[in-house]
């Protein structure tokens, strides 16, 4: 069973990435027989370097990616230090759910309106400040990419908070905090000197995922980032869709460059880790109790709450726009309301919703079965997880999507498969599987294995143990993993675009397409649905186990863990 699962994972998830990278790499060096390019050469790189604004695009990608990751990490750590012990993990997770559930594109569309010079915040200020015209500021699509950094942080701070909260359950924080404070260190210092060094190894991989994502994000950068030039990943997406097919070659060179950037950023993080570890020890040995770190903790808490408030406003603005009819500057609320945007199925949201739900359910179900098969296979083989297996699971999240999706597209076409629903399911599963697997692994291994042994001693074979004991006991984490899978599937933009030939219309592809249109009301409908669907999945993941286990005290309160 274990070898079957491994074969499926390697063939289904690893091969397309490797082969996709290989194809992209060949195109980067001039070989793409499909367009008649058969001789290896460096000219794609020449073409890439000659693109106007390339160096700015690279600088933008690096700045936005590093700034978003670094600031998100600082805020998440600071916020955890400030509220740990005052807020239970369950409450925290529940508060963060809307931010985790809402796809990047939905948040970005909402933020673009909230932050614009003529946006919601400005409209609220316009009346009291007597603004006749919106200020001529670039507060979205700004040339430095600050709006993009804010957008990424709205998604990543909650993600990192959740990851840190989960890691903290493995560390006796309360006792260590008491010990540290008894020795005269302030809360913030105990956190930085004692707790964080233990937390870091547990969150390193998720931080790398955030870093890789931030450096290569496309949908959010399209909506919030600068356009002239845009970030590297957006520039490459544009090149890939240019009518001049010759540009596919420099685009592929750029896709390899994007991969190099991500690898370099990983290297930078590794160096920083070494440096901080060394300097940190020197600092720690000096034993300085220092001045109070409380103001800094307050700052982090304030900034995090402000960020979450802006994010909540962004999601709210989607719903308000979807119900508006006429809403011009400087009205703080729509001048007239209408259900027309919802009432016209001709705008196509019903079909996009159906497609999105079908894709999410199919890819999540597939990945869930595969993840359960993997974990059960480990149980039956009595094998612990190998390190390489962990790397394998994270791999699709660490490689920039744009670096291999084009190559994968070429391969699929060449193998004669029709691009459509199933190829999109496949492409989405590359990203759904890791999250489902990560979400399920810890609860699976933390469960009470005496239940399995008891069941075996009562004569239950492996299948009966799996279906009658393990899965029912793990119902809550299985449901949570499914909800995460749905959220990941709904949010996918590039994989749906590249492997659906544009025919598979989802809420996300529609929302991103329509975000460059004039009708915010229709975009509001798509954005609201896009955020609502994963949220519904999370709600079900909470209520299904609660309802089924309402008379089972020992299984209650385990959802959202």
């Amino acid at each position: 069973m274990r070898s079957v699962v491994l074969t499926v994972v390697v063939l289904g998830l690893l091969t397309p990435i490797a082969a996709g990278l290989w194809q992209t790499g060949r195109a980067a060096f001039g070989i793409l027989p499909a367009i008649g390019a058969i001789d290896a050469s460096l000219s794609p790189w020449g073409g890439l370097l000659a693109l106007p604004g390339l160096s700015t695009a690279i600088r933008l990608s690096l700045f936005t990616g590093l700034a978003a990751t670094g600031l998100s990490l600082v805020l998440a750590v600071g916020f955890c230090a400030a509220v740990h012990g005052r807020m239970s993990r369950q409450v925290g997770a529940r508060m963060l759910t809307p931010f985790l559930a809402a796809p990047h594109a939905a948040i970005a569309i909402g933020l673009a309106f909230v932050l614009a010079p003529s946006g919601w915040i400005a409209r609220m200020l316009a009346m009291p400040l007597g603004w006749d015209r919106p200020p001529d500021l670039s507060s979205v699509n700004d040339p430095w990419g600050i709006a993009l950094v804010v957008g990424l942080m709205v998604k990543e701070v909650p993600f990192l908070l959740l990851v840190i909260l989960a890691a903290l359950t493995q560390i006796p924080v309360r006792a260590q905090m008491a010990a540290g404070r008894a020795l005269g260190y302030g809360r913030g210092l105990v956190w930085v000197k004692i707790v964080m060094p233990q937390v870091w190894p547990l969150i390193r991989l998720p931080v790398l995922v955030v870093l890789a994502y931030s450096l290569s994000v496309v949908d959010m950068a399209l909506i919030l980032g600068p356009s002239n030039p845009p970030t590297l990943a957006v520039l490459l997406t544009r090149l890939y869709s240019d009518p001049d097919i010759g540009l596919i070659l420099p685009a592929s060179a750029g896709a390899i460059l994007q991969l190099v950037l991500v690898v370099q950023a990983f290297g930078l993080l590794w160096l920083a880790e070494r440096l901080v570890a060394r300097l940190g020890l020197v600092w720690l040995r000096r034993g300085g109790r220092g001045t109070s770190t409380e103001p800094l903790l307050h700052l982090a808490t304030g900034a995090t709450l402000a960020l979450l408030a802006v994010g909540a406003l962004a999601m709210l603005s989607l719903a308000v726009w979807s119900l508006a009819w006429r809403w011009t500057w400087p009205a703080p609320l729509p001048e007239s309301w209408s259900l027309k945007a919802w009432a016209t199925p001709s705008s196509g949201w019903a079909r996009a919703l159906a497609n999105t739900a079908a894709l999410a359910i199919t890819s999540t179900a597939l990945c869930l079965v595969l993840a359960i098969a993997w974990l059960e296979g480990e149980d039956r083989a009595h094998m612990p997880r190998a390190r390489w297996a962990k790397g394998l699971i994270y791999l699709p999240l660490l490689i920039p999507q744009i670096s291999f999706l084009f190559g994968m597209n070429v391969l699929v076409l060449r193998s004669g498969l029709q691009l459509g629903f199933w190829t999109v399911v496949w492409a989405q599963s590359l990203f759904v599987f890791p999250y489902v697997m990560i979400a399920l692994s810890d609860p699976w291994r933390a469960r009470d294995t005496r239940l399995d042994r008891t069941a075996a001693a009562l004569g239950a074979g492996p299948w009966r143990r799996l279906i009658r004991v393990k899965l029912p006991v793990l119902l809550a984490p299985v449901c949570t993993a499914a909800a995460i899978g749905v959220a990941v599937s709904v949010a996918q933009y590039l994989p749906t675009l590249f492997l659906g030939a544009g025919r598979i219309v989802t809420l996300t592809t529609e929302a991103v397409t329509l975000s460059s249109s004039s009708d915010r009301r229709v975009v509001g409908v798509y954005g609201s649905l896009q955020a609502a669907l994963p949220f519904l999945a999370y709600a079900l993941a909470f209520f299904i186990p609660a309802a089924l286990h309402r008379n089972r005290r020992d299984l209650r309160g385990e959802a959202f863990t």
Binding site: L32, P33, A34, I35, P52, G53, T56, A116, P117, S118, G119, R133, P134, D136, S138, N141, D142, P143, P226, S227, N228, P229, Y240, S241, D242, P243, D244, I245, W325, R326, W327, T328, W329, P330, S338, T344, S346, S347, G348, N409, V410, L413, R414, Q418, L419, A501, G502, R503, V505, E510, V512, T513, L514, S516, S517, S518, D519, R520, R521, V522
Partner: protein
């Protein structure tokens, strides 16, 4: 029967000009097909119109239409290119593309189009297909029956009459207006069709010798023709929205900026879109249309069928339906789409003429006479050079 004879027979059959029987064959083959119409999806009214077209063709001919909404028409071209690259010479995923200009030139040059088919469409009899008609020349490139017209486009400016007293009367006048109203004017990014058209409109007015624009561009001609343009643009750019550092992606975003009060003018390729947008609650009631006194660029939007389309017959049926006088009148209704018809009024029968005459009116809808003369599009190669040069100069 000898092989030679049957070959000759097949050749003869293929060479036979379109007859009613052939169209019946097309209709029969088309029944039950689903046409994937790849069309820019940024305009909800157009999307709704396409959905309506699909309902009608399904009702009349059993042909369904699925719109594949594009952010840029080039996406569809890339798709066909990659299918060709993969050897997918039939059963392709794109059946019909809303296309014109450089995308058409690219596909035509690479042999990616099905056709010629336009003359075979029964409703082609309402079209003026003479060699110099806008229906027969797309950006100076001969259409050769490889794409079928469906809507007329004419470049116009939109301004908010509540904020702007006197809009500029010439492209040169925009420099003065922007200087007097800094930060209140912008244009879409020239990598977008509308932004490029804005530059072309200025180029036509400012170029020393307009005839050079009708031939393919050369380095020499480009330098001579564009020197005044860049001088004009440098003066204008200083006073653009955001200091000319960033630009809206397309005319829809620009229209939204105007509704948001961030700018006072927008652009459109559709003279009726302003009246439509007001009715839709997307522009203030005070929005109006103007064109420079010298006239503005006009062209025709086409649909083309890729060489490997899986549902080429269905696509032809849709292209023919688009040319039906009733369809065109419905399309010209500002409550529907408000795009001007591509049909030749002289070729219409009385019933069709009456249908056009009965269409509703609106204050923001310009009369055809107010729109001035139609300027010819420069050769497509000019647009490519123009946008590249713009990107080189102003992208840092």
């Amino acid at each position: 029967m000898s092989l030679k004879f049957s070959t000759a027979l097949i050749a003869l059959m293929l060479a036979t000009p379109a007859l009613a029987d052939d169209w019946q064959t097309t209709l029969d083959a088309a029944r039950g097909q689903t046409v994937y119409w790849n069309a820019w999806g940024g305009d909800d009214r157009t999307n709704a119109f396409i959905a309506w077209v699909g309902q009608e063709t399904e009702r009349l001919y059993g042909v369904k239409v699925e719109q594949v909404k594009l952010t840029d028409t080039a996406e569809a071209v890339t798709r066909v290119v990659s299918e060709k690259a993969a050897g997918l010479d039939d059963g392709g995923s794109v059946d019909l593309i809303w296309i014109n200009g450089p995308n058409f030139l690219a596909m035509k040059d690479q042999g990616l189009l099905h056709g010629p088919f336009v003359a075979d469409l029964p409703n082609a009899r309402y079209l003026d297909l003479s060699p110099t008609s806008p229906n027969a020349v797309d950006f100076t490139v001969p259409v050769d029956g490889m794409e079928s017209p469906w809507r007329l486009a004419k470049f116009v400016f939109i301004y908010d009459s509540a904020r702007v007293d006197a809009p500029p009367t010439s492209m040169a006048g925009f420099v003065d207006w922007a200087a007097a109203n800094p930060g209140r004017f912008t244009h879409p990014d020239p990598s977008n069709f509308m932004g490029a058209t804005f530059l072309k409109q200025a180029l036509i007015e400012l170029v020393p010798d307009p005839t050079t624009l009708q031939s393919p561009v050369t380095d020499e001609a480009f330098a001579a023709a564009t020197t005044p343009l860049w001088a004009w643009y440098d003066a204008l750019r200083l006073n653009l929205w955001r200091g000319g550092e960033s630009f809206p992606d397309n005319q829809s975003v620009q229209q939204q900026l105007m509704n948001d009060g961030e700018i006072d003018m927008a652009m459109s390729f559709d003279p009726a879109s302003t009246a439509g947008a007001i009715a839709q609650g997307l522009l203030p009631d005070t929005a109006r249309v103007f064109v420079p006194e010298g006239g503005s660029i006009g062209n025709v939007s086409f649909v083309a069928i890729p060489y490997n389309a899986a549902n080429a017959e269905g696509a032809e049926v849709v292209a023919n339906f688009l040319l039906d006088p009733a369809t065109q009148a419905h399309m010209q209704n500002i409550e529907v789409l408000g795009s001007f018809s591509v049909l030749d009024p002289a070729k219409l029968d009385d019933a069709a003429k009456a249908a056009f005459a009965a269409l509703p009116n609106a204050p923001a809808l310009p009369a055809l006479a107010d729109l001035g003369p139609t300027l010819l599009e420069p050769h497509a190669s000019w647009m490519t050079r123009l946008t590249e040069e713009w990107a080189r100069r102003y992208t840092k």
